[in-house]
């Protein structure tokens, strides 16, 4: 079996695994059982992360050009890898599987687009044009795509949050940069919490998504019950942390691009459409981060901004190339 065959196998395997993972997440979300199907979904995402890694490694060995991407096919699979990897991290961090309902189909569509829709001549690797033979550029492209992956999973967590809270009113969230949520909220849970000393049992109060209270009991006594995060809180904070990670990556990616452009073309900013859209993406996510600092903006509004960011990332990544003008029209990527 040669490298090209290996690539074909891994390409199809990634697509198939992601498809199975997506269906599993959806079945689990719809019926809330069986438990094994949610495990299957998670394992599927991890396997897809491995098969896409293998695919990309085989591709780089075969083509001989340095990391990471020389055309749209490689770029799509790299983004697919990023989404799988960030998803696995997010699931581990949040201990929540709901995000997969949204991330798995996006990864599946990427793999499907790369292997089924893209014409065969755009899938094979090609030598680099002179303008692209630069380390800054490699850094620029890989960090940009990494940031897109992180931001996409982050905004999908916000979309999951919007889904979970679609019926809730008066949300008060914790986890904003000025620490508005650092203070105890007064709700029904408080009654459970205020009597722990007399009770031999400890109660952990959870406000569940629909606003009701759900109490988990543990046998051992703890002096005062702690108010912990609800599912909505967890999704919200996961989204915030992921976007908080994607934003520096995007910043570094844009700067690497600007430095490269200045070294190669003599201008660090020329308002070419791809450049402009990456700035727009940056501004939208900056707006998201700042909306979290604004007391009047807690709850669903930042999540709506993150969803706007989801759309904007796609325009920046693919949409601008469809316009097909400007400095970045060398090839079908970055």
């Amino acid at each position: 079996m040669n490298l090209v065959d290996i690539q074909n196998v891994l390409d199809n395997a990634s697509f198939a695994t992601l498809g199975v993972a997506t269906l599993s997440y959806w079945v689990y979300a719809a019926f809330k059982k069986p438990k094994w199907i949610s495990d299957l979904a998670s394992i599927g995402m991890s396997i897809a992360a491995l098969t896409t890694t293998g695919l990309l490694v085989a591709r780089w060995i075969e083509s001989g050009h340095p990391f990471p991407v020389s055309n749209l096919y490689e770029s799509l699979f790299f983004l697919c890898w990023c989404i799988c990897a960030v998803h696995v991290g997010a699931e581990w961090f949040s201990r929540e599987r709901l995000i997969g309902v949204f991330t798995a189909p996006v990864a599946t569509l990427l793999a499907a687009f790369a292997s089924l829709v893209l014409p065969a001549n755009m899938q094979t690797s090609a030598p680099l044009v002179p303008a692209l033979q630069s380390n800054w550029l490699m850094m620029h492209v890989s960090v940009m795509i990494l940031s897109y992956g992180t931001l996409l999973v982050g905004s999908l967590a916000s979309i999951a949050y919007l889904w979970v809270t679609r019926k809730a009113k008066n949300l008060e969230l914790r986890g904003s940069s000025i620490g508005t949520g650092g203070y105890r909220r007064v709700d029904k849970a408080e009654t459970v919490q205020s009597e722990p000393k007399t009770s031999p049992q400890t109660s952990y109060a959870f406000q569940n998504a629909e606003g009701g209270t759900l109490t988990m009991e543990t046998e051992a006594p703890v002096a005062t019950a702690l108010q912990t995060s609800s599912l909505a809180d967890i999704l919200d904070n996961t989204s915030y942390r992921l976007i908080g990670l994607g934003f520096p990556l995007l910043t570094i990616g844009i700067i690497a691009g600007a430095v490269w452009a200045n070294e190669a073309w003599g201008s660090y900013w020329s308002w070419d459409p791809k450049e402009t859209w990456s700035l727009i993406t940056w501004l939208v996510f900056a707006a998201y981060l700042h909306s979290r600092l604004t007391i009047g903006w807690q709850g669903r509004k930042p999540a709506l901004l993150a969803s706007l960011g989801f759309v904007v990332v796609w325009i920046t990544y693919l949409g601008v190339n469809l316009l097909g003008t400007g400095l970045h029209s060398y090839g079908w990527f970055f």
């Binding site: 030598p127 051992a220 995060s229 201008s267 859209w277 700042h290």
Partner: protein, 467 residues
């Protein structure tokens, strides 16, 4: 000072304060982010910097008007043909920079100052206000140990403690904001005192900076000239271009060579604050003769059609007076081969000419090419703002990474064998919560012994996907 003018001053001070607080407010910043983003999209969908005729043709004000209002008159009046240099766009950027500066001084520096303050509480009522608050039978030392293990820096005052970590997470945004001000200032400096120009120079000739296309108001143009000693292209075996090279010399006003370098794409030359980049290229001319005539230099121009799937340059040589017989010379680049096509006979006759190899059409008609001369497109740029911009870039990268850190604070005190403690963080809510829980349960375990492990970890509660 009369009391009246004093009152007036007070009034203006109030107005000033009010204005500053609006200017430095977050809702304004968020609005500006989104408005600038929205305005920026215009230039990516509307063709930019075209001539007025272009807009008159494509955006008529009669008949089918785009979106019902987008006529060429509207476009030109609002500067939508060059959005990023329109006065209102620049004004937006300046407003943005001002808001950023105001915000940094009015809001962030005080925020940092207050975040650095150590506060101690020994009133359970105070601590209970925090979402994360608990009380466990333990000693103060145990509490301190637990928090130190989690990386907190602990300060004590009697039986009270204050602990914190991640203070850099509060410094990060300030660095970010200052660096963006630097980048904006650097951009402005570049626009005012720099220049950027492009010149197409044939192999062996010189260019200078007497005519700059759009210099800034305070731009000083260099006096020296640039000589193109040689321009060539490296091709791959399959005919695709591998790299472009221009061997350049800087010639001062006395005609002396001051510096020399061969530049290529991604490898420019720097001299006297000016950078010279390999930006584009073309075919300038060919040396050509018929039979034994002297060599004639025939200028080549870019052709609309693409031949062999590549860019093509060509020239048309009339062979008679009524435009019947003519010869077209065409080439794809500097590899040497020139296509000559003779029109006028029944069928066009194509001839392939290699340099130095005469092609005999008939015994009395011989065509010959001596060589193809290229022209190199050099972009020259002077931007004194680059230092500021690059400093800003460096700081921005550092600051934005620092901003990921979460600033966590904990307060606690001991009374009658029980420790009371509370805490909060500004970003990593979930992680902090788990840390806090783990401190609580570790203290509990110390009291009750490890056999009696409690399930205080929130993970035990939320491992099951809940919906």
């Amino acid at each position: 000072m009369t009391s009246n003018s004093f009152k007036k001053n007070l009034f203006w001070l109030g107005v000033q304060r009010e204005l500053l607080s609006i200017l430095g407010s977050l809702p304004l910043a968020i609005t500006l982010f989104l408005v600038i983003a929205l305005c920026s999209t215009v230039g990516t969908v509307l063709p930019q910097q075209e001539g007025p005729q272009y807009y008159q043709q494509n955006y008529p004000d009669q008949g089918k008007v785009l979106f019902g209002f987008l006529t060429w008159k509207v476009i030109l009046a609002l500067g939508l043909n060059d959005v990023y240099r329109a006065w209102w766009f620049l004004a937006l950027l300046i407003l943005f920079g001002t808001s950023l500066a105001t915000c940094s001084f009015l809001r962030q520096i005080p925020m940092l100052k207050s975040a650095r303050k150590w506060r101690f509480y020994d009133n359970p009522k105070r601590l209970k206000k925090f979402a994360l608050f608990t009380e466990v039978p333990a000693t103060l030392e145990q509490l301190i140990q637990e928090f130190q293990q989690k990386g907190f820096q602990i300060h004590t005052e009697g039986q009270k403690i204050y602990g914190h970590k991640g203070l850099l997470g509060r410094v990060g945004p300030i660095i970010v904001h200052v660096s963006i001000i630097l980048i904006l200032l650097g951009g402005m400096l570049g626009a005012l005192t720099g220049f950027k120009t492009q010149s197409m120079t044939p192999d062996g000739e010189q260019f200078d900076f007497h005519q700059l296309t759009s210099p800034g108001p305070w731009t000083v143009a260099p006096k020296w000239q640039v000589k193109v000693n040689r321009f060539w292209i490296d091709y791959r075996p399959d005919g695709s271009i591998k790299q472009f090279y221009s061997d350049l010399s800087i010639i001062d006003t006395d005609g002396k060579e001051k510096a020399r370098k061969t530049i290529s794409v991604n490898d420019p030359m720097n001299y006297d604050g000016v950078s010279l980049y390999q930006a584009s290229w073309g075919v300038d001319s060919i040396l050509f003769r018929v039979n034994d005539t002297p060599w004639v230099k025939i200028p080549m121009r870019p052709l609309e059609q693409v031949i062999n799937g590549k860019e093509t340059w060509g020239a048309i040589i009339p062979l008679d007076n009524n435009d019947q017989a003519k010869m077209v010379l065409a080439t794809n680049g500097l590899q040497g081969t020139v296509q000559a096509i003779l029109f006028g006979a029944k069928q066009p006759i194509p001839i392939s000419l290699k340099p130095g190899v005469p092609a005999e059409l008939t015994p009395s008609l011989r065509l010959e090419v001596k060589g193809v001369t290229g022209a190199t497109g050099i972009q020259s740029k002077k931007d004194p703002g680059t230092v500021l911009v690059y400093t800003g870039f460096g700081l921005l990268m550092i600051g934005v990474m620092m901003s990921y850190l979460s600033h966590s604070q904990v307060w606690g005190f001991a009374k009658d064998g029980v420790v009371y403690f509370a805490g909060r963080t500004n970003r990593a809510q979930i992680t902090f919560e788990r840390e806090f829980m783990s401190v609580a349960s570790n203290l509990q375990n110390r009291q009750s012994g490890p056999s009696d492990v409690i399930r205080a970890e929130p993970s035990a509660l939320s491992k099951e996907p809940r919906r």
